[in-house]
Structure formats: structure tokens, C-alpha cells
């Protein structure tokens, strides 16, 4: 029954007008658009933290510790009398740095492995698949936890270890993409005229594969916020006096029964960020490949 033909053809990044079409579809999806705006606001907050925050993240006012919202401290203060609003704003900075940095690193590690496995197949693919198997066996969060526990923590190390432990998804996706691209006619044509392999892999094929990879990157961000804030919450992430949402949550839990604000502020921040990034990521996926929406959330 092909009674209606609606505009749902999947497009690849190589098609002309790809980004414009995708943007048009994204714009039509209200939830995604609002989430996108929230994402941009969070990122702006992170970048402009020193300009926006009413105080420094480390400024203490011990006389006013664990105070509820007041004119001086819009969201109240923590146990050292530090302004929660300011810490939440600076926290965006640390949290976003890790949340975006780690998946980026994962992409840098994973995509080349996936490309090689998908392109060369046979022995390379076999080794890569066994590698995938090993890494699927232990949950990524435990790998990261182990690395952090063994090698110590700092923002840089958090990015490093969360990045290392997140390469797998990128490698899988890149492999699948390159397997499907490998036998396209334009690849054969490029090979026939003697284009070097690296050039085919990067210049000819990467543009076609980049869309899903970017979406995967965006979809990894909420998972990374979850993990990094989680580690800070366990006391394994960012250290005092630096602000981070997970760290704030950790600080706050001890005073749960005294001052709810210390817990609610970071909770809302984390929830808002994860929701915004995941709705935004879903919207991007639907914009690039509307058929995915047909099965996932039609």
C-alpha cells in the first residue's frame, strides 16, 4: 500500500542539501528544538561562567552556611556558605567539559578502530570483534571506575578514563558504516583511478558516515553526565574546591535532612542537562534519518 508518499527518505551526509534538510526537520520537532535551545544555554553558561556567576565558586561565607534562598544567595548556600547558584554555574563548566570531552576522546579512539575493522575485514575485523567482546563483558562504568580508582582523579583524568571506556560504541558504529559503504560504486571508482586508501577512507567515506557518528556523540553526552557526576558523587571525581554537579550532590547528601536545596540544586541541574541532551540527540537522529523515528517513536 503505497498510497501516501511522505518525505521520509533517509539521506546521507554526502547528499547535497543534507544539513539544510536535516535542520528543517529538526526545527519542526518542537521538543527537540526546545531541548536544543536549553543545550545552547547550558553551554553558554559553562563558557561564560565567570561573567554570569554572582560569586566565585570558592568564596566562603561560613556565617551563612546551609542557608536557604535569600536575596544575597538566590538558591541558598552549601555547608561552607558558598553560593549554590554560583557553584551550579561553575559546575556547568566542569560537567560540560567532561561530558563533551570524554565522548570526543572515545570517538577519536573508537572511530579509527571501527574504520579499519570495517574496511579491511578478515583478520583485522576478527581481532577487533574479539576486542569488542572483551570490552562488552565488563560494563563501561566499572572499567572507568577501576581506572579512576587505580590512577587517581582530576578533571583531566576523568575525561581520559571515561573517554577510554567509551570507545566501543563509536568503533561498532564506524565499523557498521564502513562495511555498508565499502562496496559502493563510488568506492570502486575511486580505487580504479588509484586514489590512495587513506584518502578514500577519510575524504570519500567519512562525510557519508559522519552524520550517525555525530548523533551517537550527542547521545553519549547524557550517559557521560550520568557517569561523571556519579563518580564525583562517589567522591571519585572532581575534588574540592572545584564545583561539579555530582560533587555538589555528594556534599549535599550529608545535609539532606537539614537543607534540601543543597541536594535539589545539583539534582535539577543534572536532570535538566541529561534530558536536554537526550531529547536533542533523538531529534537530531530523527532529522537525519526519519525512518528511525518510524520504528523508535512513531
Amino acid at each position: 500500500m503505497t498510497a501516501i508518499t511522505v518525505d521520509t527518505k533517509p539521506i546521507t551526509a554526502a547528499t547535497p542539501g543534507f544539513w539544510r534538510t536535516a535542520w528543517r526537520r529538526f526545527r519542526r520537532n518542537k521538543l527537540a528544538l526546545v531541548s536544543g535551545i536549553v543545550v545552547v544555554l547550558i553551554l553558554l553558561t559553562a563558557i561564560l561562567a565567570p561573567l554570569i556567576a554572582p560569586q566565585g565558586y570558592q568564596v566562603q561565607d561560613l556565617a551563612n552556611s546551609l542557608a536557604g534562598p535569600s536575596r544575597g544567595h538566590l538558591l541558598g548556600t552549601d555547608r561552607l556558605g558558598r553560593d549554590l547558584l554560583s557553584r551550579a554555574i561553575y559546575g556547568a563548566r566542569t560537567s560540560m567539559l567532561v561530558a563533551i570531552g570524554a565522548p570526543l576522546l572515545g570517538a577519536v579512539i573508537g572511530i579509527p578502530i571501527g574504520i579499519l575493522a570495517g574496511w579491511y575485514g578478515r583478520a583485522v575485523d576478527f581481532v577487533a570483534l574479539r576486542l569488542f567482546e572483551i570490552f562488552t563483558m565488563v560494563p563501561q562504568i566499572l572499567v572507568a571506575l577501576l581506572l579512576i580508582a587505580l590512577f587517581g582523579n582530576s578533571v583531566g583524568k576523568l575525561i581520559l578514563f571515561l573517554g577510554i571506556s567509551s570507545w566501543l560504541g563509536f568503533a561498532r558504529l564506524a565499523r557498521a558504516q564502513y562495511i555498508s559503504l565499502r562496496n559502493r560504486d563510488f568506492v570502486l571508482a575511486a580505487q580504479a583511478v588509484g586514489v590512495p586508501t587513506w584518502r578514500i577512507l577519510i575524504i570519500h567515506l567519512l562525510p557519508s558516515a559522519v552524520g550517525p557518528l555525530i548523533i551517537f556523540l550527542v547521545q553519549e553526552i547524557p550517559a557521560t553526565i550520568f557517569a561523571s557526576a556519579g563518580f564525583s558523587f562517589l567522591g571519585l571525581g572532581v575534588q574540592d574546591p572545584l564545583a561539579d554537579w555530582g560533587k555538589m550532590l555528594n556534599d549535599g547528601t550529608q545535609y539532606l535532612s537539614i537543607d534540601l536545596w543543597t541536594v535539589m540544586v545539583p539534582t535539577v541541574c543534572i536532570a535538566l542537562a541529561t534530558l536536554a541532551f537526550s531529547f536533542c540527540g533523538d531529534g537530531m537522529r530523527d532529522a537525519i534519518d526519519p525512518s528511525s523515528r518510524q520504528s523508535a517513536s512513531r
Partner: protein, 334 residues
């Protein structure tokens, strides 16, 4: 046996409506083999689905009458409708590859239908299934029926689908492009099987296709559809001998013929069929027609019977109707 009167089917779109069928009139007599021809998007599949009230959601029948053996299909309660589907009207799908439940056996398909419409017991339906599968040319039906659809080839699957369509002794068989998804070599076999079964049990049939060549060999009468409307209808012999609508003529030119001179190029109709999103007056074929006049664009031609001409040219054999302001005259085209 089947009468369709001014049928309209529409699909709501994000903005506006898609009018898939716009006032279809059609009759099928007992034992008659009707062919419905048109390009994709002409509304022929939707019309066929509407006969058993199976227009895919969100589409719906907005007005018109469908009578099957005198009873009104549109007003039929759910229960009787289900008796009609399968019991009175058998359907043969376009793509046999995806038309069987992949996780139940072939036999189970027959069993549930036979129990529902004929009240057969398990043992009875097994025997009947073997018989049916044999009659459609499935080798070793006894063991085949215990298998699943993925174990059959495309042609075999269509044979099973045909057996399933006739299993409960329907009186009308509707085949929606039954061969498009099959290899060319298999297509002829399936059509031959279809013909044989229709003849053997004296079924009425509706064969939907985009290929006038298929109609020539397998139908008695033809309806040519375009943009949700009937453009022309006639007996097969009459239509081929005296196509009246410019669209029909265009379709006929697209059929490759062995007798045609080799030098003649393969004809095509320029442009593509429209998506009708507003039910505006005028002939829908006007934008692609080479005989178009101002009248064609503003007034909708009605489907009118062609009679014998005053000047004695032409003849009316059976019914031949055309919806065109400037029909092709007999003898005008070689």
C-alpha cells in the same frame, strides 16, 4: 455481484488532505474478470482495499456505497465484515515475501482461516491444506505445510498466498499487483495459475496492475484509473481496438509489442501522476495531455458511454465509457 458507487477515500496529511479515490464507480458481475490499470498513485490499490474496508489508517472512506451481493459493506458490523473478508472475498498480496506470519507454520495459516470460515476441524483442515497446496503446484505439500514461510522461494510463497486466498471458497478474488515482486520467469506461471483457479471455480476476479499487457491476457473488462478517477472502461477487446482516452492511448504505447517496427522508439508519457491534495475541477490528466484545451482545465469531464457514431464510424460493443472532453476518435490513430 460487486457494485461500487461514487466511492471516495482520503488520507489526512500533516496539512490538508490527500484524495486517493475521487468518486469511483465500478461493477463486477459474477464470474467476471476485471482488470484495474493505472500508474502507481492512481488509487487502484486503495480502491481494492476499500472493497473489504481495509483502507490503511489514517485513510478512510469518506463517502460512497459498496455493495457486495446486495448488502452494504460500509454499514456492515465488524462480525459480518470478518465473514466477508476471506470467506467471500479472497485477497492476493503484492509482496508474498512479507505477507505470511513468520513465526507460525504454513499449515497454521490455513487452519485458522478454515476453522473460522468453514468450521473445519484440525484433521479436516490438514487434508484440505494438502489438497489446496497441491492444486497451486507446491511439491510435497504434506511436509511443506509444516515449515515456515522463510523456507519457501518468492514464487512458492505467492502460490501459498493464492491457495490461502481461495481456501475458504470466496466468490471474489482480488489480486493487487500479484507479480510485481516476482522474477519475470515466475510472473507468467503465477498468472497462469491465477487464471486456472478463477476458471475452475468460476470466481469473479479483480486484477490490479500497472501493465496493460497483463490485462490483455487475463481479464474480460478493464478499468483505467488516473488520479483517483476512472478515465475509461471497456471490454478488453474494445479497449485495445478502440482506446478513447488519451491516457489509455499513452499506456498502450508503453506496452512493448513484438509486431511493432524495430525502429520505433519506446513511448513514454511525459511527467508523472499528481498527488491530489485538492479536489479541484478539471481533468486530472490535463497537465500531461497533448490534446488539452481550456475546457479540460476548468471543467471535469464525466464518465460517459460511447455509442455508435452518427456518421456510422465505430461501434459500441458492450459498454465503453470514457471521461474526456476530446476522446480519441476511432481510426484517428493507427
Amino acid at each position: 455481484m460487486l457494485e461500487i458507487d461514487d466511492l471516495r477515500v482520503s488520507f489526512p496529511l500533516e496539512r490538508g488532505m490527500l484524495y486517493a479515490v475521487r468518486g469511483l464507480d465500478l461493477t463486477v458481475r459474477a464470474g467476471e474478470r476485471l482488470g484495474v490499470v493505472g500508474e502507481s498513485g492512481s488509487g487502484k490499490s486503495v480502491s481494492a482495499a476499500a472493497i473489504a474496508r481495509m483502507v490503511p489508517a489514517p485513510g478512510r472512506i469518506s463517502s460512497g456505497h459498496i455493495r457486495f451481493d446486495g448488502s452494504d459493506v460500509i454499514g456492515l458490523p465488524e462480525r459480518d465484515l470478518r465473514r466477508l473478508r476471506g470467506g467471500q472475498i479472497g485477497m492476493i498480496p503484492q509482496s508474498p515475501q512479507t505477507s505470511m506470519n513468520p513465526v507460525i507454520t504454513i499449515e497454521a495459516h490455513f487452519q485458522e482461516a478454515l476453522a473460522l470460515h468453514l468450521g473445519l476441524s484440525k484433521a479436516q483442515s490438514s487434508d484440505r491444506t494438502i489438497e489446496l497446496l497441491r492444486s497451486v503446484g507446491i511439491p510435497d505439500p504434506g511436509s511443506r505445510m509444516r515449515g515456515y514461510q522463510h523456507q519457501l522461494s518468492g514464487g512458492m510463497r505467492q502460490r501459498v498466498m493464492i491457495a490461502l486466498a481461495i481456501a475458504c471458497e470466496p466468490r471474489l478474488l482480488i489480486a493487487d499487483e500479484p507479480t510485481t515482486a516476482l522474477d519475470v520467469t515466475i510472473q507468467a506461471q503465477i498468472l497462469e495459475l491465477f487464471d486456472r483457479l478463477v476458471a475452475e471455480s468460476d470466481l469473479a476476479s479483480i486484477l490490479i496492475t500497472h501493465n496493460l499487457g497483463i490485462v490483455a491476457g487475463h481479464c474480460d473488462r478493464v478499468v483505467v484509473m488516473y488520479a483517483g478517477k476512472v478515465m475509461e472502461t471497456a471490454t478488453v477487446a474494445e479497449l485495445f481496438a478502440r482506446p478513447s482516452h488519451p491516457y489509455t492511448l499513452g499506456l498502450l504505447r508503453c506496452v512493448p509489442r513484438l509486431t511493432a517496427a524495430r525502429t520505433r522508439t519506446f513511448a513514454t508519457i511525459p511527467g508523472s501522476p499528481p498527488r491530489v491534495t485538492e479536489d479541484a475541477p478539471g481533468c486530472p490528466f490535463a497537465p500531461r495531455c497533448d490534446r488539452v484545451t481550456a475546457q479540460c482545465r476548468t471543467e471535469t469531464p464525466e464518465l460517459l458511454r460511447i455509442g455508435a457514431r452518427a456518421d456510422g464510424s465505430g461501434f459500441a460493443s458492450g459498454e465503453h465509457s470514457v471521461a474526456c472532453w476530446h476522446p480519441v476518435e476511432f481510426g484517428e490513430v493507427a
